[in-house]
Each structure stands twice: as C-alpha cells, then as structure tokens.
C-alpha cells in the first residue's frame, strides 16, 4: 500500500476530491496547512507597513491506496489540481506498512 500526500491550492480541494472519488477512493484526510515552495509568499499591508508573508495557505490531502491504484490516484490529483501557474503544489508518495480499521479490526487493503 502507498500513502499519497498532496499539497494543493485550497480552492482546488473540491475538484481533487471528486477526481479521487471517480477513481474509486473511498476516504481521505484533509488538513489546512501553510508552506512555501517556489511560489514563495505574498505581500500584506497593515497600517501603512508592508509585510512579506512566506507561508501561503494550502490544503494537504492524504490518501492511502493499493499499489496497483497508485498511478491512477496520482494522475487524478495531478490533473484536478493543476492550473499551470506557479504554486500548484506537490505530491509525495510514501510506503505504508499496515492499515487497521478500528471498528472491526480488519487489516491491510480490506481496511481501506
């Protein structure tokens, strides 16, 4: 199993969620987060002083999938989250050792 952790633009969340549903993903975890990459930050103005704000608001979507689903999942996120402009985000893929469903005790792909 793999964990796909995608940092995307907040307004792209709905499209990413729909795209993942279409490829058969049944659950995900979403976190509001902040960070910067090549986009760097933006400028804010408070009472006549300008501030450089480095951390830009982003949304992190975590999905666990079976190995054979990985390409589809990555492709779904990549397509849905892309605007072509700087700041579209990143996708990280990590190996997952085990998954348990707390209610039933099921393990592995059955618990997804």
């Amino acid at each position: 199993m793999k964990m796909v952790s995608a940092i995307v633009k907040p307004f792209k969340l709905e499209e990413v969620k729909e795209a993942l549903r279409v490829v058969g993903i049944q659950g995900m975890t979403v976190t509001e987060t902040r960070g910067f990459g090549r986009q760097r930050g933006h400028t804010e103005v408070y009472r006549g002083s300008e501030y450089q704000v480095d951390f830009v608001p982003k949304v992190k979507v975590d999905v666990i999938c079976d190995d054979d689903q990985l390409a589809q999942v990555v492709d779904a996120i990549m397509t849905a989250a892309r605007t072509g402009k700087i700041g579209d985000g990143k996708i990280f893929v990590l190996p997952v050792e085990q998954v348990y469903r707390i209610r039933t005790g099921e393990m592995g792909p059955d618990a997804l």
């Binding site: 804010e44 103005v45 408070y46 009472r47 006549g48 002083s49 300008e50 501030y51 450089q52 704000v53």
Partner: protein
C-alpha cells in the same frame, strides 16, 4: 436657574451607556490587532478598567475632577465616595440630576487609561498594569479633567485659559496619547519587533470593535451637550461626518502608496476622525467637521506610516492615532469654531479670532507636559514596586497564558479537571 429636564436626563443616561460600551469596543479593536496568544490579555486590560476605575472614580476620582475648585488645579474632597451626589442637579449640568452627570463622567474616566494599553500591547505585566491604572487614573486623569471641565485653569472659569474642548480632545485623547508615548519609551519594544512580521490575528474583530467605538462616540460627543437639544444634534452630526470623511482621508493615500485599500485602514481612519472631531463636535459647522475628519485620517495615516522610520514600537498606534489625531482636532477647533454654532463657545482663527488658536495650543502643551512627566514618574514607581514588563519567557508564551492562565481559542479535549 434652568429647571430639571426629563429629556436631558434620559439622553445623558443613554449617552452614559453608549460611552460605557466603548470600552469593550476598544477591547475588541485592540484584541483583534494583536497575536492570538495575547488577545485575552489585551481585552482584559480594557475590560478590567471598567472594574477598577469605576470604583476608584466613585471613591476619589470624581471629586478630584469635579469637586469644589482648589486653586484652579484640583477638585476638593466634598464629593468623595459620592457624598451628596444624588438626584439634585449640579452647577456643571443644571438640567439633570448630579448622579446622572457623574455616571456619564465616570465612563470617560474608564476608557481614557484603557486607550493607553494599545501602545504597549503584548508585553505589559498585569500586576504592573493594575498599579499603573490606579495611579494614573487618580493622579493624571482627574487633575486634567478638572483643569478643562471642572473649573480649573484651562477651562472657562474666571481667569481660565478658555481653551475649547467639547468632549475630551485634550482630557481624553491627547492625555492618553502622550501617556502612551511615555509607556513606549519606558518599556521598549516587543521581542522580535520590527524584524518579525507581527500580524493582527482577527481582522473582523478589529472592524467590529471600531464599529462599536463609532456607535458609542455618539454618546461621547452627543452626550457632551449635556442635554437633549440642538447642540447634541450638532455634535452628533459632526461626529458622524468626521468619521466618514476620515475613512477617505486614510484610504486615499494608502491606496495610492500601497495599491491596497485595507479594512484595518478604513477602521483606523474612522477612529482617527472620531478622535479629531471630539474637541470640535459642538463648535463647528458640518463642512468643517468633514474637513477636520479628513485631516485626522490623512495626518494619522502619514504619521503611522512613518513609524518604522521613527524606530519605536507604538504597537497599536495609540500615539499615531490618539495623540496625533487629538492635536489635529484641538488645533483645528481653534480654526473652525464659530459662535454661530454654539454661543457658549468661541470664534476661531477663520472667524477673526486668532487668539483662540493660541489658547488651544496652550491647552495642548500643558496637557502634554503634565501627562508625560507624571506618567513617567508613575511608570518608574510601579516598575520598582511590582514591575511593568513581563519576563522574556512570559512574553514568548503570551499574556493569555502567562498573566491570566487562559487560552482564547481552544481545541476540544486534552485535559482533566484538577479539582472535581
């Protein structure tokens, strides 16, 4: 001798309630501007003034400001603990009960020292604040109120300077503004200022607070007519127009300079306009109120923009808004005041009386010198006895937790009750 008037009484009671509400409004205005770890500490500094200053004012504050004049400097102790302050009217306001006049004045005494707290936001020790608040209220607020309104040497009493201050430009705003400067100089900058971007944590809270201030200001200025009459209407109209024009006075240069008309700018501009019109509200024509408000917004914007170059940490711009706006208002009152609006006032520079401008200047300088020196002495004494600034660790942790053992915005769970 005019008779007691029920309409006047009703309006001043309502105005007292409006002015009371300005202090929690100020708490939200300031609270939104600080970081989330300091929001309760900041709100508490204003809210606590409602507690301590009200009680002190009942005991000594009122009588020192409005008791029988002693040497044009201070009020006597005849009204200590509000003795004799009842339903019968008092010379300052002959158509309303004395206790109604007193409670209206009490609300001014509460908000004035609370204004100072914004200058040294996020770093004042609460214990030190309590002591500073008590001493400042009695030793600075009451004497200055006496000088201007209580029959002292700056007001209209026999032999007085006869400076015009309709609702507290000198007594409230210049007084608090210069005391704020003393606090900034004494206490120094916040840790991390100005290298780190210390940003407001809740901008809608700032706008709500400013709106409550604006709303309460109708009582502050309108009530200062001390009657439900045409003068109250004049002051009410001037107050609204000045706040409105000041939004423009702040936003136009901000938009040009930073390409951004900000909501905090609009709110701050409105407050600057309200400060500027305070001494003038019952003495000027509506067009002059617009000019005074616009000037207040514009000059405060310029001054606040220069703050980084001045190199001091006036955290929430108390000097930049209340001191600067207060001076703009006090001096422009000496320009635009006219007897056509208020027979009990005076003509200003524009109406052929340049002397009034000088009188205004004298009142400003007197307030600045006394309040600055007295505030410095109070800070020094308080610091030696209980300390005025939090420790570096407490500052890092934030006032909410370090001074009040509370957190403003909590997540569910994660703790158990110690006493249950």
């Amino acid at each position: 001798m005019p008779e007691m008037d029920t309409g006047d009484t009703a309006w001043i009671l309502a105005s007292a309630a409006l002015v009371m509400f300005m202090t929690p409004g100020l708490a939200l205005f300031y609270g939104g501007l600080v970081r989330s770890k300091n929001v309760l500490g900041t709100i508490m500094q204003s809210f606590f003034a409602l507690g301590l200053v009200s009680v002190l004012f009942m005991m000594f504050g009122y009588t020192l400001a409005f008791g029988t004049d002693v040497g044009s400097i201070i009020g006597g102790l005849d009204f200590a603990f509000l003795r004799g302050v009842g339903a019968e009217p008092f010379a300052n306001a002959p158509t309303i009960p004395h206790n109604v006049y007193m409670i209206f004045q009490m609300m001014f005494a509460v908000i004035t020292p609370a204004l100072i707290t914004g200058a040294v936001a996020e770093r004042m020790k609460f214990k030190g604040y309590v002591m500073f608040l008590a001493l400042w209220s009695i030793l600075v607020y009451s004497p200055v109120a006496h000088w201007v309104w209580g029959g002292g040497w700056l007001g209209f009493a026999e032999g007085g300077v006869a400076a015009l201050d309709f609702a507290g430009g000198t007594v409230v705003h210049i007084n608090a503004g210069i005391a704020a400067l003393a606090c900034i100089i004494y206490m120094g900058k916040r840790k991390g200022y100005p290298q780190e971007a210390i940003r407001p944590h809740n901008v809608p809270m700032v706008i709500l607070g400013a709106s409550i201030l604006w709303f309460g200001w109708f009582g502050f200025n309108g009530g200062s007519a001390l009657g439900a009459n045409g003068l109250a209407g004049t002051a009410f109209v001037a107050t609204h127009l000045a706040a409105a024009a000041a939004i423009l006075g702040w936003l136009i240069p901000e938009w040009i300079q930073h390409k951004a008309p900000t909501t905090i700018g609009a709110a701050t501009g409105a407050v600057a306009g309200l400060v500027a019109i305070t001494p003038a509200a019952g003495f000027v024509e509506p067009w002059a109120a617009v000019l005074i408000g616009f000037a207040g917004g514009l000059v405060c914007y310029i001054f606040v923009s220069l703050k980084p170059k001045l190199g001091y940490d006036d955290s929430l711009d108390v000097v930049g808004v209340h001191f600067v706006g207060g001076i703009v208002g006090a001096l422009l009152t000496g320009v635009f005041a006219t007897l056509a609006v208020n027979e009990a006032g005076a003509d200003g520079l524009l109406y052929g009386n340049p002397g009034q401008f000088m009188k205004q200047l004298i009142a400003v300088v007197a307030t600045v010198v006394y309040s600055f020196v007295a505030s410095m002495v109070i800070l020094f004494v308080t610091d030696k006895l209980v300390g005025v600034r939090v420790s570096e660790d407490d500052e890092q942790m934030g006032l909410d937790l370090s001074q009040h053992s509370e957190t403003a915005y909590t997540a569910e769970g994660g703790g158990t009750s110690i006493h249950s």
